[in-house]
Symmetry: D5
């Protein structure tokens, strides 16, 4: 089941650079693991902003929530979720 997830990161300016770097490194590792697992299907940077547009492919709402909660940047992100479904005009098998 697919969801479009838009994440905008707002790190406090007072966060020490070392802590920010550590958070980002962990975030990156988890994001790549989730991509390898097929759960995080697409991940794009929004040009000009510290934000991404993502497509998740999960078993349901609960799994989506649990995955997002594992992200170390979760407390610093504005997250918008849109439930997607197959478009009748899509010809791509994996746009399920």
């Amino acid at each position: 089941m697919l969801f479009k997830v838009s994440m905008t990161v707002r790190l406090p300016h007072t966060m020490p650079a070392a802590e920010a770097d550590r958070l980002k490194a962990t975030e990156r590792a988890i994001a790549q693991e989730l991509q390898r697992s097929g759960k995080w299907r697409h991940l794009w940077r929004v040009a000009g902003r510290y934000a991404n547009v993502s497509i998740f492919d999960v078993a349901g709402n609960a799994e989506l929530h649990d995955l997002l909660l594992t992200l170390p940047l979760f407390p610093y992100m504005d997250i918008e979720v849109e439930a997607l479904c197959r478009h009748p005009s899509s010809i791509h098998d994996d746009d399920r």
Copy 2:
């Protein structure tokens, strides 16, 4: 070059059903042709709304605009465009 395009369709309630059907059939044919050409990379329905989330892969802003203009539903759609680029944490080759 990738763009996320969100389209919300607002057909006037006064449009005759036959005209709406004709517009939608043409829209569908063009959308599928653009998908086959690789320009319209992904197309999803937003659950509960007459709207889609799409990913376009085009040569640039001008080609994106020209493609969208060919859609017969263009005059009836609210369209939002976000320029995307490769995310440094993406592991998918085609998330270019």
Copy 3:
């Protein structure tokens, strides 16, 4: 899988009363059938507005979309969907 769906109905003032009545009667019949099936778990009127707050319990995004599309008032509604999941503090078994 649960979704909160907020529907606001905006019938055109030009719609003949008989057509509006017919649409509403069909809407009501379908809504009640969906409630009996367990798909439409809760349905409340928002005080002072021609709008409802609903909870759907469906297999996934696609089923939610397909059900909403069967509603005859669908073309006249603003619909907002929020994906829900079990709250860790909930004690109600059916708040799944």
Copy 4:
């Protein structure tokens, strides 16, 4: 009398983890007690956000306010209240 209450929690990033944990534990205890009493009829997590959608069943506006004030996270929440009433198409006795 039913109310839909949407709560979004925004804990300051400067709050010590121990204090946050203590607040959340107390919040959870009170939330469960209110659920057992029947006042807090439903409690769902919004997927991807530190937020919930809730249904309260109380004697009136004053009781709703007093209950929400007892929540230790109240000062850190954006709260939206919508007064609900029975929908003429509802078939559920407890959607009163």
Copy 5:
């Protein structure tokens, strides 16, 4: 139980003057009857707009909704409802 209700009237410009006059006359009669009954506690015009701010004193959400539905201008109004309760600093007995 008190509610603040804000109503903004948007009559279609195509409505014949006679129909508008008839609707307004009925609206006025009902509004005055509801005021006499004590249900519609206060009614003020917003300066410079075809809108009012009102205070209703009703048994609950359902009665509020039923009363508003009886207004002939209901289909032409944007209505916002806010549930009120006694303020701990109020000294007015009837700000209940």
Copy 6:
């Protein structure tokens, strides 16, 4: 002359409890004095929020501003003012 004033209080989480208590006690005393004087005609709590809806009856815009400035919570409030006038359908003498 009547004004509807909506006040939402946002105390900084860093304010010591003693200072907050002192501000609130003074606020309460001034609010009650203004109510006794007839200037602050109505004062209601908005259910579920640290906010009030108020009706002021003052000589004019300047007096309204001067009164609000005397409130110790003024620097911590979002305030919205709407100028009201008698509604032609009002039957209450004091809805002047």
Copy 7:
């Protein structure tokens, strides 16, 4: 007593030109009469929009409302009212 009033005119595209011209001519005559009376203190066009920014100097909210109601374009305008008062740093006697 001063008010800033912002008016945006939205004439329906279906209004016959002759009717629009007649409305505008009457509007102009009334606006100029109100300026001569001193009630409509300032009137400026917003560059690039069919809108104005105005300053009214009236006895109170009721007079402001009554004056605006006499404008033939009133039903076609979005109107925003802000109550003004003398600024402590103003040196202009007529910024009362």
Copy 8:
């Protein structure tokens, strides 16, 4: 050339009172000097808010910007600028 400028002041609650007082005193002195020069034509307080509505009469956009930059409260203000021009219905010579 005229501009309507709306300024809302948001001083940080952490600013020491002495610094705030000093900033306000300088602001007041500069504002009055600009009024004497004829550049700051009107200055009104918005009732109930720490905000003003102003009319500037300057040689152009650049002068407007340079004047606003000289205000010591500039870093703490939300500023909205609207370019004004003579209204065809204005009868006031100085509404140029």
Copy 9:
């Protein structure tokens, strides 16, 4: 003096194609004449929308307004104006 002007065109769907074509042809002719005169310095299409971003170089607010009023699509456009001035970091002589 420079202004950024954003124009979004919303032609009524009921406008006959011939009338729309005539309006657009006249609009184009006037737009090109204004560009040749140097008043309309830049004109870009916004990708995916019937909208443009423009830079005008005019004597002042009044000339800007008068030029925009000559556009036959003016009644069908949402127009936003931002007054620009030279940026201290600009190295382009014509970014005056």
Copy 10:
């Protein structure tokens, strides 16, 4: 390929003046270098605000993002990007 980029700078009031000055000096040097390279085609100050309107001419979304990331004020800016393309009515060769 052209993009309109709107940047609004929000420096924290707690940033020491020396750090702000250093950031601004570096920002200015980079902005001028990018202008000399032809990538940052236009740069204007928005009158009355610490904000700019810019036109970038880059190879694509990725280059735009990479350039903006090099700005030392990037973490303190709200940035909006609009993809532009040649307008069919433009007569300027460099409005490409």
